[in-house]
Subunit: 136 residues, 4 copies
């Protein structure tokens, strides 16, 4: 089990979301943030970096958005569910955008692996959003 | 002038948003992120911290969301405007939520100042959103 | 295998550090950053939050420092090894400080699990530092 | 006055550092983090991006390190001064490294402005470090 899951399971005030969907989405978001930071950097070392500038830009955005989303989603104390929902939606959009661009460069193994991570994260965010309570 | 504005004005590919609204929103988001980190910490030192836990939680969320929003909004290279719009909307919501809670504790000068920073940021995000192109 | 490791293995310009130590340290730093964000939040929900303010503060620092360290360490393109070494040292110190404080509250299961994560990360950083080239 | 300074001045437990040096360093670190995020992105849009990959990498590191440093330094509740000192030292090194590389590309106005921001931040960190208490 991941360290954060061990910490989270003794939280005195658990968030009102299905625990399995919640943990699985958080894992995907954490993984995707790291994959995007790493892919931006791998693209920067490619000899055709000039063709990869949009990919780098979307990787940097997706990394920043995933990292912020995982932090706000990880907090279970007295959440504002409307803020969380909107942030998870933004994360889903960022993953779709970045994953689509990475897929166009799948001859680079790092872009191919990053596209898979983005697509998994997009899908996990989508599933989690269905479990959110209706808008306030 | 702020350092980022000096850097941004020689960007070879400027973002397609009104420059004055854009710079002003970025300044407000940067200021609000810092104000929220500082207010969470000031609340933590208050003798009635037990009554401030929701405020701290929303401050931490607002800080993470503002900091991520300012980074993605600051990038002007080949943006995905739908991702940016959604992130700015989330920032507006986070500021509204955090500013509302801080305002309930305005007998603490730090909460009062943080509420003002959140309200300014919310309003700047709202103005900037009106300048965004229609959804793709 | 983690997503970032899949991305990193096709990086065109690998960093000059033992790959097994490097990957293992990055994993520990990522896990610890998330554990600390989660523990700060769990402490905030405890009825004795007043006794946990130092723990929350050190958790927030350790989360910010781990998250920044994992990003700079993950980049393999033309690194400044002196900057990386200093950042990894700071991460080791932050984990020691936070892990020590969490260990004092190990009757809370989340503090106990977070202390273990911090101790693992401190030890991984220490091992990685031995593999760094001598100071420039 | 900046918003965070307004929040910070009513903190119930002020940090044991000269207030003027402290506020001035925090301002420089915040400005430099934003300047580096912006410069990395401006470099990415340059036609000679291939010659700017080291600059982009150091900009991204410096942005992440400044942003984490400003957060941990901004917290005044029960600090671990050894962790803070080490993080401010790392920030100083990152600014020196990034500022030096940006200065090599000062024919780009954004690199010239970013180099000035880095040099100011390096100098502010150096001054603040002299005000720190002796190592524990």
């Amino acid at each position: 089990m991941q360290d954060f899951a061990k910490v989270a399971q003794s939280h005195p005030n658990k968030i009102n979301l299905d625990e399995s969907l919640y943990t699985s989405a958080l894992k995907a978001i954490e993984e995707c943030g790291a994959a995007c930071t790493s892919c931006a950097d791998a693209c920067l070392s490619e000899s055709n970096v000039q063709q990869l500038t949009k990919c780098i830009r979307l990787n940097l955005d997706c990394a920043d958005i995933c990292d912020a989303t995982s932090r706000v989603l990880m907090r279970q104390t007295q959440p504002d569910m409307d803020v969380l929902r909107n942030q998870v939606e933004t994360c889903m959009l960022a993953c779709r955008s970045c994953g689509g661009e990475c897929a166009r460069h799948s001859h680079h193994e790092h872009c191919k692996a990053c596209a898979a991570s983005c697509q998994n994260c997009e899908s996990e965010c989508e599933d989690l959003l269905k479990a959110f309570p209706a808008k306030a």
